[in-house]
Every structure is written in C-alpha cells, then in structure tokens.
Amino acid sequence: MTQKINVKIFFFLSFLLAFSACTKDEKITVEADNYKGVFIVNEGGFNKSNGSIGLYKPGTNDYFDAYKKANNLPLGDVVQSMSLLNNNYYIVVNNSNKIEVVNQTSFKNTGTINLTSPRYIFKVDANKAYVSHLFSNELSVVDLNSNTVVSKININHWSEHMSVVNKKVFVGTNSNKVMVVDAVNQVLVDSIVIGKGINKILALPNSKLLVFNTGDVDWNSGAVKEKGRLSVVLADSNKIENSIELSSGSYGGSIIYNSKTGKVYYSFGDNKIYEYTENATPVLWLELPSGQSIYGMSLDETNQQIYISDAGDFNAAGKVYVYDLSKKLIKTITAGIVPNGAVFNY
C-alpha cells in the first residue's frame, strides 16, 4: 500500500516536472518584400559558422537574416565584409574561404568564388576586382563577369583593406606598410611606410588618401608601444603629405569619412569616437555609455547617420546604435553575432 502511494506521489511530481520546463519557442514574424534597407554584416563567432548578413528596415523594428531568407542557407564562418560591385553584392566569408555573390535586388546567390582566407574585395575597374587575404602574400584578381580568379599579384605581405585612386591600388598590410599596385599592369610598384596596425585606407578628394593605423600594444603588459596615426597620402607621388600622432593606440579600431562635411570619425575600439578635420586637432566627439564598445562604424551618407556596431560578449546578438550627426541616438538594432559594419541599399 505504502509503495502504491509512493508511486502516485512520484508520478504526480514527475509530470509536474516534465511539463513545467516546457517553454514556447520564439517566432520571427518579420516579412520582407524586398531587400532595400540597411544590411548589417555579422561576422559570427570564429569556428562557429554562425556569421550572417542581416537586413534592417529603417523606421521599423524589422530585422532578419537576409541571406538565409533569400537563399534558405546559412552563410558561413567569419563574414568579414560585403561590397556592391556591378549590381551584385560580394559577401566575403573569411574562414569559409569563399566569396558568395548575390543579386542586389533579390539577394539570391548567383555564384561562389573559392579563395584562401579572403578579407576584402575592391573593384578596380569595370570588369576587375582585387581580393585581399590572410595567410597569403598575394592579391587575387577576380574577373567580375565570370566571377573567377584570373591572376594573382605578389605584394610580399598579408593584405587587408584597400582603396583605388588614379588606377593605383593602395593595399593595407599586416606590416607597417601600404603597398602600391599598378592596376593597369598588375604589378607591385611601391610601398609607403605608415606605422603598425594599418586599419583602413579611405579615398579623399584631390587624389589623396587617408590611412588610419591603430599603432601597437605590448602583448604582455597591455601598454601602448606605438600610438596610432592618421596619415594623408598623395596618390600621385605615393608620399605622405601629413601625418598626425593620435592620443592612443590599440589592437583595433574603425574609421569613417563623411564626404559631405569632410569630417572623419574614428575610434580605438573602446566607447569613444573622435572627430577629425584635415589640418585640425582631433577632438572627442561622442562617448557611448559605459558597458558599450565600438567594434565597427559605418556612415549612412544619404541620411547622415552613423551606425555603430557593438559586439557585446561576442557570443550573443550584438547591437547596432544609430546616431545622427547631432549625436542623438535614433535607434538601437539587435543584430547578429559580432556585427562589424553596415551596407546601405536604398
């Protein structure tokens, strides 16, 4: 008898336990009738294959995984960058060793280019683009009609961000130099010593470039060994016209250039954004609330808004804060894992 009562109590408790832990899954109900809006590039966690391209519809709360929705496929591991070339988006998926090519309107996949550890793709002329690489001292030359690698250019270093001015491609590297490649003859022609931690190369008016390097930090002590710099390079002569030392240095950072106002905004990856105007001293422009940090920045030239990516703990959905130029927070977007930038498709 006692045993039967025990059984009943046990069953009762067990059923309570079995059903109390059930929770309903969240459902995403966002619908997209087109792929206009702001794409968020989410790197994803390294070796987790959870990178994505999200689409945010300004003025709404709509955000969804655009690549997965259009193609019913996950994207890959470490989505480094996305560029619009000839009405196609080229999505560079670094640790999947590929570039996915998607149609600008439908976002449908139209091809895949397989390469070694690509970082950025940059259009050099109507039919040609260069791809930079980790783990390779060569740039890959991609034919944009066939989306195949047609040749390679040795630049003696691993490569990063690029810019093209006057048929010359300026390539940031993992050394302290920017390498200069003749885009017509496709050969390395020069190099420019900038400093360590070359981050971005931006094209300015009047055949100039702005190179942002974040300096160097001692791995053991965390002390800044070399401060970052902003260098204006003359594209015609490959010479540095002006270079200013910045207030700090770090392992990473981000920079944007507003061609309408001529102002530059940069960050060392903490929660501070500095404003720089050519020939002026940089000033602190905006300090985000404590607990937020800046993993990437992108400028919406059309609406004159800055999209600031915050990777958070690198293992949860990151945030993108949208500020206008009066420093007013317009919107906070919950994005994918490790958002590093935005691409605007209006």
Partner: protein, 631 residues
C-alpha cells in the same frame, strides 16, 4: 519528443515498481545499505559507472549517466558537465589524484581508454577530492585495482569508419606480489557521412581530417610486507588526432594535435593497528600538448605536477572516526602564453570527523579543508553531511558545503589577457537525497542547489580590444536527479536489468558585468535542462541483449539564448547482442552493437555533425593460465 521521452522514463519506473510485487527468485545480488565510504563526502550520491560496451570514457558517461558530455566529434575533445556547471568544475580523479590540467582546468575524456580503468564512479560531493581543489560540481572517480589472478586478456574491437582497437593485458600473482601489464592501441579514420547544409545541393559529404591514433602502456605492481602494502602504477599515453573543422568552415590547414601523458603513482599503506591506518601517495604527471596548423606556427605546451599526500585514519571510539590528510602539490607549466614557465605550490590540510550513533542508524560528518598557495590562503572549505536510516528501506542523505576553484595558469599568466589579480571561484551547495532500497531495486531522488561566485570568464575589454580573464559573474544552478536500478530474474533463467537516470537542471547567470547584461537570467550555453538515459539488459544463459537510449534536451549556443542558436534535442538508441563461450578456465565473449540505430541526425555542439548509424564488433578473450586456480 522531450516530454514523451521523460514520460517513458517515468512509466518504466512505474512498471518496475509493479514488477517488485512479483515473487521471483533473486539471482542477481541486490544493493545493501551501506554508509558512504569514509573517503567520500557523507550525504552525497555515488553512482558506479558500468562500462557497457563503451570503448572510451566519454561513451560510458554519455550512455550510462544523465551527465552531459560535450564533444566536438567522437574522437576529439570531450568534457563532462555535472549539474549544469562548467567542465572545469568537475574533477577527474585517478586513484585519488586530480588529473585536471593546471593550465586550463580540463581533462579530455577521450584520452582515457576504458581498458586501463577497473572501476569508475560519479560523485556529487563538493569535497569529493580530499586533495587539491576545483571540485565545485563533483568528480569522476577512476580506479585501478589489482586482482588475485593469473590471467591474459585480449580485447579486439572493430567498428565503422575504420575504427579499431586492441587491448592486451597479462597479470600474475604470488603470495606477496601482484603485477599486471596492459597495452592498448586504437586508431580510426572517423570519416563519417553528414549532410552539408551550407551548400545549396545539400550534398552528403564525409568528415575530413578526423583521424585518431592512440597508444598506451600501463604497468602495475603491488606487494605486501607484513603490515605494509605497496602499489605502483606507471602509465604512458600517446595520442595523435586531426582536428576537423565545423560544417561551413573550409580549412586547408590540416590542424592536428599530439598529446603525450606520463603518470607515475606510488602508494604505501601501513596498518598501524586494527583501528588505525596510515597511507601515503606519491605521484608525478608529465603532459605535453602540441598543436599544428599549416598556416600558423606550431604551439607547444607542457605541464608537470608532483604530488605528495599523507592520510591518517583512526577509530577514536566505536562512534567516532577521524581522518587527517595533508597534500603538497607542485605544478609547473610552459606554453606559448608563458614561455618562461610558471610554477605553483599548493599545500592542503584536510580534517574530517565521522560520527555514528549507537544504533548506527545515523551518521554525521564534518570536514574542513584549508589550502595555501603561493603565499596566499584560499577560502576555507567546510562540509557537513548527514545520513539517516528512516526505515529498513528508506534512507535520507543531505550535504552542504563550501568549495572553491583556483584560477588556472592560463587564467593567471597567459599573455595577453592573463590576470594575476583573479580571485578563486567560490562555490556553495546543498543537496538532499531520498533513497529507497530493496534487494532488487534501488531508487533515489536528489534535489540540489549550487551557487558559484567569481565565475572566471575571458571577456573582451573596452580599452585594448583584447580578451582578459575576469571574475565575471555569479551562476546559480538548481535541479533534480532521479536514479533507479533494477535487477530481476524470472524463472531463475531470465535476468533483467533496467537503469533509468534523469536530470533536470536550471543553471542561470544571476550576476554579470555590465557588458554581459544579455546573459542575465539566461541558462548557460550548451546546458540542457533535461537529460536522461534508459538502459535495458536481458540475459538468458550465455546470451545477452541490451538496449540503451539517451536523451539530451535543447541547448543554446548563444549566451542570450537567441532562437537562432537553438540546438535541437535528440534521442539516441544503441542496441546489441553478446554471446559468451566459456570453458572451465577460459572465457570468450563476442559482442555486436549498433549505435544510433535509428540513424538520427544530431549535433552535440553547433555545426559539429555526429555519426549516423554505425556498428561495432568486439571479441573478448580471457585466459586463465593458473593451473591451480580454476575460475
């Protein structure tokens, strides 16, 4: 599926209770009520781990317990999570020696072949380890035991994906001396098929770069000289593994890892009197880990530990037992993050009193451990345990303890990011177990609560964009465990055994840093709420059939439990048959097993495919070469 399986588990328990009413002859020995052994925490649960047909420790724990084994692939890094805590919070003790790495706090289950282990159990006590630290959730206890036998054993295993293993042992004995030599060799391609869902055509591909080669040697001696007994064990393991990439990653760098482990263990026991004994242990562990990647420079690390431990146990009076233990551990490690090498000396004092009342229905234990390391004193670790026999069949156990875990060398010294100012993690826990026990059947239900403060995590910093080890959060874990084992025989010929285990655990972040707020109130990543096993075994004469099922509940790979990071629950079934062929002196067993019998696609970790249906054939030969001593 989850609810259905849990109901099935519970339904089976109901059937088992009904089966108790059948008045059949007991052929398999039931459990006796025994007090918790003096070297284990009073009031906690100890579950012996049957090996089944498992070849590795990760398989045995996964298929026989409700613990969650995290593994990237069947032959790669596998760690165990107990009660929702991290892998570093579960110690792995080999003959009482903690095998957790001083560099990262982990021990890879796949580096331990079961052929080298004689007994294994799961302990849930905070002070399960008399020595050292780090046992916040519990321990996996592994033991070697030399028997009085002259025997040659041969285990030959052949399995899918070109996996094979051979184990050979020879043991001997005379009046004062025993010895055993064991050798194991294991290799495999592990190139199982999976659907590549990152490609539009959803092609079926084979896992690349997943080969394994493992060799091991264990030599044991024991001898007795009057009141002194000695045991010596030396163990070498060499493992080479390729490291496969997750689905979606295209990696041409041929990553692989080499592990070399050497252990030497010497134990001396001296029986001072009928009521008092003294034991000493000396252990030396040397481990290498080399990592290779075609695109990067190789990475090398090495750690050495020397351990000296002395324990005195005495019966002060018929009701009172006293144990005193002192342990000195010296640790040394080199790695790419600290090339000059780092060392640590840890000295631990442990005292324990066990009291029994006159009727011996109640047992009360109190222990306290004090630990000194590098001129610092760690938090005091007291533990209180109570065991009470309520009736002939019912027993109540309860235990409460404070514990801690020292930061690992990587946490403290790795450059960049190591943080010398880290505090030890502090744990506190309480558990209560109701145990019902008959000759045929044992059932227990345990409720537990754990809290860990100063949980160490590596987090990105704002100022330098590097990751730094920090005492980042508080975690609370609450849960329930059910365990039952039934042995039953019908008509003296048909033997049944049913094992059911189930765990419900809710492990949530209760305090975090400001930039980790999304984690607040969320279950820890890769921590299922529900886990369980239901294993059936039927034996008729020399014929045996077994069926195992394992349920792992939903997990999330993101710390914010985003729906996109949800990993589906899964239910796996394994089954097999074995036939024993015995002579008067020798035995042979042939086992055929099918794993994942319903061809279930599942992932333990995100984008890490696991094998579909696979097969295993094992031949075990046991030769008794002692002409005087028949089986």
């Amino acid at each position: 599926m989850k609810g259905l399986y849990i109901i099935c588990l519970l339904f089976c328990q109901g059937l088992i209770l009904e089966a108790q009413n059948l008045n059949d002859t007991l052929l398999l020995k039931g459990y006796d009520f025994k007090w918790t052994k003096s070297n284990h925490p009073t009031g906690t649960l100890s579950i012996s781990l049957p090996f089944g047909e498992s070849q590795t420790l990760s398989d045995a724990i996964g298929s026989q317990t409700s613990l969650f084994v995290k593994q990237y692939s069947p032959s790669n890094l596998a760690t165990v999570s107990m009660r929702g805590m991290g892998a570093q919070h579960t110690s792995m003790l080999w003959n009482g020696i903690n095998l957790q790495s001083c560099m990262n706090g982990l021990k890879d289950l796949n580096l331990i072949p079961l052929f080298f282990i004689d007994e294994a159990s799961i302990e849930t006590g905070a002070n399960s380890s008399l020595m050292g630290h780090g046992t916040i959730a519990g321990t996996v206890q592994l033991k070697n035991q030399l028997e009085n036998e002259k025997r040659i054993k041969l285990d030959i295993n052949r399995a899918s994906f070109n996996n094979q293993s051979i184990g050979f042992s020879i043991s001997g004995v005379n009046k004062y001396f025993k010895h055993r030599t064991r050798i194991v060799y294991r290799s495999g391609e592990n190139d199982f098929e999976f659907v590549n869902y990152f490609k539009r055509e959803l092609p079926i591909e084979r896992i690349q770069n997943n080969q394994l080669k493992q060799m091991g040697l264990m030599q044991e001696f024991s001898w007795v000289i009057k009141k002194h007994s000695f045991y010596f064990n030396t163990w070498l393991m060499q493992t080479s593994r390729n490291l496969p990439s997750p689905t979606g990653v295209v990696n041409n760098s041929n990553e692989y890892q080499e592990d070399f482990n050497y252990k030497m263990y010497l134990q001396h026991q001296f029986k001072i009197s009928a009521k008092s004994k003294l034991s000493q242990k000396l252990c030396y562990i040397d481990e290498f880990l080399n990592y290779y990647n075609n695109a990067l420079l190789p990475s090398h690390s090495r750690s050495k530990s020397a351990i000296l431990e002395s324990e005195w146990n005495t019966q002060l009076n018929p009701n009172l037992e006293f144990t005193s233990n002192a342990n000195f551990t010296h640790q040394l490690a080199f790695s790419d993050g600290y090339r000059m090498g780092v060392t640590r000396n840890v000295f631990t004092l442990f005292q324990r009193l066990d009291w029994y009342n006159n009727s011996r229905r109640n047992k009360l234990s109190f222990s306290v451990r004090e630990l000194f390391y590098d001129n610092r004193i760690a938090p005091l670790s007291p533990e209180l345990g109570l065991e009470k026999k309520l009736s002939k069949k019912w027993m109540l156990k309860s235990n409460a303890a404070l514990s801690f875990r020292l930061p690992t060398f990587n946490d403290l010294y790795w450059q960049p990011g190591g943080n010398g100012d880290l505090k030890p993690e502090k744990g506190r826990k309480a558990e209560v177990t109701a145990l019902y026990n008959t000759r045929h059947w044992e059932f227990s239900v345990t409720a537990f609560k754990h809290v860990v403060e100063n949980w160490i995590m590596w987090l990105p910093t704002q100022s330098a964009a590097i990751w730094i080890a920090q005492n980042a959060k508080q975690v609370k874990s609450n849960g329930l465990e059910f365990n039952q084992t039934l042995h039953k025989a019908f008509f003296q010929k048909h033997h049944f055994r049913v094992i059911t285990r189930y765990q419900f655990v809710k492990t949530i972040n209760t305090e975090t840093y400001q930039n980790q707020l999304v984690q607040l109130g969320k279950q820890l990543i890769y921590t299922p709420n529900h886990t369980g096993v239901l294993n059936l075994d039927y034996r008729y004469k020399s014929f045996n059939v077994f069926a195992e099922s394992q349920y792992i509940g939903v997990r999330y790979s993101q710390s914010d439990q985003h729906i996109n990071s949800k990993l589906d629950d899964y239910l796996l079934f394994n089954s097999g048959v074995s036939i024993r062929l015995n002579t008067k002196r020798h035995q042979g067993t042939l086992v055929f097993a099918v794993k994942n019998i319903f061809n279930r696609t599942y992932q333990v970790m995100e984008n890490r495919p696991m094998p579909l249906r696979n097969y295993q054939l094992t031949l075990k030969i046991n030769i008794n070469y002692d002409s005087k001593n028949q089986r």
